[in-house]
Symmetry: C2
Subunit: 159 residues, 2 copies
Amino acid sequence: MKKVKKMKRYDELLVEFKKILKENRLKYTIQREVILKVLFDSKKHTTPEEIYDLVKVRFPKLKTGIATVYRTLNLLEANNVINSITFGAMGKKYELDNKPHHDHLICDECGKIIEFEDEEIEIRQCEIAKKYNFKIKSHIMQLHGICEECEKGGERVDI
Amino acid sequence: MKKVKKMKRYDELLVEFKKILKENRLKYTIQREVILKVLFDSKKHTTPEEIYDLVKVRFPKLKTGIATVYRTLNLLEANNVINSITFGAMGKKYELDNKPHHDHLICDECGKIIEFEDEEIEIRQCEIAKKYNFKIKSHIMQLHGICEECEKGGERVDI
DNA sequence: TTTTATGCAAAGACTTTGCAGGAGA
DNA sequence: TCTCCTGCAAAGTCTTTGCATAAAA
């Protein structure tokens, strides 16, 4: 039941990604790799628009279109290389599926996201699922509220 | 800490809604009530489009525009009369905030939503929040997977 | 050579907004 | 009367799609 996920290095991730491409008869392109790289380096949850901008800044010679970003994100998500998370009005954000399972504390004031893991909750979730004969594949848990800094009147932080 | 919410009758809900309108110097209109009524009667999570259609079917004489539906939903949500929940690609859905706090099991196959309550998880969430000095205002927990019927190869159900 | 990707621009889906007329307080 | 609402249509977002060209296999 318990699946421990080890943080992958970038080269491992790339090998895995190329394998997925091959299995689906898709082609390796520099745009696809660059988007993966940007996601790998991003330590936060990132919107398609932000990814597009990062690609333009870091690889200015490569003319990458926003459509390719969307297409690649959909591809990566469909193959479980990345996850998406949707906040109220803030839209969809992506992160690499490259760390142990975790959930999120989200500050509704500054938008900051704090990640945490809690085995006890995971266990309880399995029990609940069992009660309903439901087979859990994934879950989303977001605790919304006000973070310590905002409570004290801190500054605005980027997510 | 523990706030037990009793299921309200429609007349109680309406009184509360009128109070909110008054407090915000907003006007009572038949469109606003009708949208609230449709939400009250709907036992499922409902999209703006569905609410719009229901209003047209149930109150055909009233020419209600989709813009009013959106405006009213935003108003109701801002005043915590309704909650919204966002599923992956299925868009935003609303439900009356009129039952004890609960979370959702969501079948990725047929889209069915099963609601459940679990005090143990709520307690654990408070502990986690305390650890991060985070003040929780609300939370979202969705367990995604396959429901019993779909696992057995059941039929498609509307949410 | 064959197939799939890409960028661009156009189209789509969903939601919000501006406005003039209409309804509530 | 004065203010807020409404429907309509137009404008905004965000995302996807069609197409001709370009790049990978």
